[in-house]
């Protein structure tokens, strides 16, 4: 696809959790918990409130279409602030410092006074109905000439357990939101910028690691389309694909509009028609269960509702997402019927009842009430009208699906979603504070230094930078551990163990250091490392694991063992001479069970064989 010709413009927002002691607006630890550990539950409703300027935000209004009760899980590591039962504490200064550090790394300008805002979010993910966020700095630069518009310090939302149930452990963890200008023009460029920003963030050593700790939102538009914000791209490798698919979606929506207009398509109705009685005897479980079924005819839409706009997504999927805002499970449309238990006869009956011609598409929604069904059909009409309009690509917030395609979430929020957080005092960023912020070395620069200093291959050094274990390696080296031992453990051994299903994340840095020291001191063999780590990951200490898996063998012990083995195989040694070394290595290693480094074994064995084969004192 010629992205330049299509006028692709993209920007990204990166959300990165910070690794601080306490949450952003309360004193709780930033620890994630197992769902089963929750020790309290409560439930709440949320309603949209007006902004300072007296308006209700359009995205919030959309979420209000259904009265939803949210349920929250609380823990012994959460408090009344997460429960929205206590005013917030002052902004966490540690988090602000990390945010300022990142701002400085991008050459940004801090605001003189930081004001915390409430960003209205009433999808249940914040008990308060808003996310606290503050603009901290603006105008940063990227190495390739791109621009970073702003950095904000925000509180993380609660984790959705399922449906309307949320877990409060994550709520309030500090995160930075970095927003670039719409300065990218190809899918690969977007991915590269995201990778670069991620690397800068990790260079601070103060950000959380692991799945879900960094999320990218991508803003995309093509010239004839519209700005769409895709939320929650967790996998960096998918970013370029997400951009490609969005361009594809916008292009196809434009093509569908042109085809609809060529056909003279129209939406005559302003409301649905009740067709509940047509499905009294249906085999479709959804329709049978429904209290009210409404239908509408979209004139000239046949074939278009079911047309694919990106992999696994059709115009019908978009209509379905809109309808779901009213609480229904989705829609049925005649482009995909008969199916889902709806028979060909029923479709014929429905078409004739609705007086639908062959080129028309009939849409069905099944609701639990008149209100719900008419709300849902209203949403379908709204979305169909957009498909036919001058702007067939609506400005939307969308969420990424697993494959890289996207689904509609809500309209793009406007400035009306922002309200001052009256419970938090503004914070001054004066020159003294800004000048005191230290800028850490970039991981890429560190990797280069590492290559030069320790003779490690550049791709290993870069992998290390990406792994975030560079500080550990540096510490190890400074404590006298050989760089190759540490690097090999991190990049190769740990990766293999992880693939075997070992929970490597449970191994503390200090435990790795202890193990490396043991190896360097000859107290354990390199060969024992994987088994020791397995055991440590399963909960035992390094000392315990070493004792069990690699009992101490002194050099004298080793010499004694080697002599015993040589004595038992006198003839073999006499016959093979020094060539006996290879076969006997395995025998000795089996005997010492990995508790001695292979190099030492080989050394001792060599000396002892030499002594037997060509005795100096015959």
């Amino acid at each position: 696809m010629d992205y330049k010709a299509l006028g692709l413009v993209a920007g990204i927002e990166i959300h990165q959790q910070l690794d601080t002691q306490e949450k952003l607006f309360c004193r709780c630890p930033t620890t994630l918990r197992e769902i089963a550990e929750h020790n309290a539950e409560f439930s709440r409703y949320l309603r949209a409130t007006v902004s300072e300027m007296g308006e209700i935000d359009r995205a919030a209004k959309e979420e209000m279409k259904s009265d939803r009760m949210f349920r929250y899980y609380a823990y012994d590591t959460t408090c009344l602030v997460e429960n929205d039962e206590e005013p917030p504490a002052p902004m966490n200064d540690e988090a602000l410092t990390v945010c300022l550090t990142i701002a400085k790394m991008f050459g940004m300008t801090p605001v003189p006074q930081v004001h915390t805002m409430r960003k209205l979010v009433i999808d249940g993910s914040n008990t308060s109905g808003f996310q606290r966020t503050a603009l901290v700095a603006f105008n940063g630069a990227l190495p390739d000439g791109g621009q970073i518009e702003t950095i904000c310090l925000e509180e993380e939302a609660a984790q959705r357990v399922k449906d309307e149930v949320f877990s409060l452990d994550r709520l309030g963890i500090p995160l930075v939101e970095i927003t670039t200008a719409p300065c990218m023009h190809s899918p690969e460029e977007v991915q590269n910028v995201a990778e670069y920003i991620g690397m800068v963030l990790r260079s601070t050593g103060r950000v959380k690691r692991g799945l879900g700790t960094i999320r990218q939102d991508v803003n995309i538009s093509i010239a004839a389309g519209a700005r769409v914000e895709i939320k929650g791209v967790q996998d960096l490798d998918l970013i370029a694909e997400v951009v490609r698919r969005e361009v594809q979606r916008q292009t196809n929506l434009l093509a569908i509009r042109d085809e609809l207009r060529r056909r003279g398509a129209a939406i005559d109705a302003t409301a649905g028609v009740e067709v509940t009685s047509l499905f009294r005897e249906t085999k479709s479980a959804v329709l049978k269960k429904a209290k009210k079924i409404h239908a509408i005819v979209l004139k000239g839409f046949a074939g278009m509702v079911g047309r694919e706009i990106q992999p696994e997504r059709r115009l019908g999927s978009e209509m379905s997402d809109y309808a779901k805002k009213c609480g229904v499970g989705g829609i049925f449309h005649t482009d995909e019927l008969p199916a889902y238990g709806v028979t060909a006869d029923e479709v014929l009956h429905l078409r004739s009842f609705m007086k639908a011609a062959e080129q028309d598409c009939v849409i069905l929604v099944a609701g639990t009430s008149e209100k719900q069904a008419s709300c849902a059909i209203g949403q379908v009409i709204t979305r169909a009208a957009i498909a036919l309009s001058d702007t067939p690509v609506p400005e939307e917030t969308r969420r990424m699906l697993e494959s890289g395609s996207t689904a509609y979430m809500r309209p793009l929020p406007g400035a009306a979603r922002m309200y001052p957080e009256t419970d938090v005092l503004p914070v001054q960023i004066d020159d003294r504070r800004w000048n005191a912020v230290d800028v850490p070395e970039l991981l890429t620069a560190k990797a280069d230094r590492f290559v030069a200093a320790y003779g490690i291959e550049r791709n290993y050094a870069l992998q290390l930078a990406a792994s975030g274990k560079l500080p550990l390696i540096e510490r190890a080296v400074s404590e006298g551990i050989k760089p190759k031992l540490a690097v090999f453990t991190i990049l190769s051994t740990a990766t293999e163990l992880r693939r075997d299903g070992v929970d490597v994340a449970k191994i503390e840095d200090q435990e790795l250091l202890d193990l490396w020291h043991a190896v360097e001191d000859g107290k354990a063999a390199r060969e024992a490392i994987p088994d020791v780590l397995r055991s440590v990951a399963a909960g035992s200490s390094v000392a315990e694991a070493l004792e069990k898996l690699a009992p101490l063998v002194s050099r004298e012990d080793l010499v004694a063992i080697v002599r015993k083995i040589l004595a038992e195989r006198k003839e073999f040694v006499a016959q093979k001479g020094m060539a006996a070394l290879g076969p006997l290595m395995g025998v000795v290693m089996a005997e010492v069970r990995g508790s001695v480094d292979g190099k030492m074994v080989s050394e001792v064995l060599k000396t002892e064989i030499a002594a037997v084969v060509s005795p100096k004192n015959p």
Binding site: S43, R44, T49, L135, T150, C152
Partner: protein
Amino acid sequence: MAVIKLGSGYNIGIPPGVCTFIERPVQAPAKSSDIPHNPNLPSLSIVSTGGTIASRIDYRTGSVTSQFNASDILVAIPELASVANYRTIPLATILSENMTPAIWQQLARAVYDEIRGGAAGIIVTHGTDTMAYSAAALSFMIDTPVPVVFVGSQRSADRPSSDNAMNAICAAAAATSDLGEVAVVMHATTSDDTCAIHRGTRVRKMHTSRRDAFRSLGIPPVGSVEYPSRKVTLAPDAVRRGARTPALHEHLDPDCALIQFYPGMSPRILEAYEGYHGLVIAGTGLGHTSTELIPPLKRLVANGTMIVMTSQCMNGRVCDRVYDTGRDLLDAGLIEGGDMLPEVALVKLMWVLGNEKDRSKAAAMMARDLKGECTRRTPHGL
């Protein structure tokens, strides 16, 4: 610092010297309430006094302040229209820490006028800090045949999670119910599931911030309202609609005070209360002060101050006959306040002294239950 709202909606602070004022965006005019009258629904009156249920940002301090009046509340909580028709009477827009006995009197007159005007029930929106005081004041000042329901919110109305809507809807349900007394209706739990109906003379704010801060002390709540079903359940001893004949006794004697005794409290503090007509002491335990305070207390009584002893324990009954300091306090002329809450005793004392000039009759009234403020027996389990 000058606060600037950016196009993104974010605010930032900029030193005044570095920016130039161009214009201030106009705030969208508040939507006017156009609530249709439904002849099948009862008529309620909403008297608004302010508080968090009707609070918005204050650009003077950047914190929240009371700004809404009753019709704003109806616009903000449209579900109220399905419970009743409303007359709205904006009485004050104050945070409740600024409430005074004089405003209690205005409030009592306004509520009484609505009762006489035929309202099926009255809702008083009020800040939560001193809501219990006002509820107690109205309990004594008005004999009401209809529910007079105080309601507020613990979390400000400008947040989507505010408890204002549910509290107001439950208050409206209680105000149309079979209740016939002054009550406080607020969240019963941290969840949006039930509101408790508390008797105006037995209720206390027991938490600074939680939704379920209000608790009945010494008695169970007189009822509950389920949400969102709005089902009202009344306890057997809740005063029923029509049980009392409307009357207004609006006099109060504001020259009364409430002090809390603490170990080592200086007798000189009591000098400040010379000339007061009434004084309530929240004593320790069964109702004690130190022996050192007894002579100056005796002097206050001799000079005409009526002194009532209550307990800072909040739960349980005063008994000054167990220990010698207690007996000395009784000898000094103090009145035992039974199981009255200290602040309820204060409000009652203002009301009694405002309406009964005969000292011995007034003292007898202080010891007698008037509006459920003191019980004759202390049930177990509370």
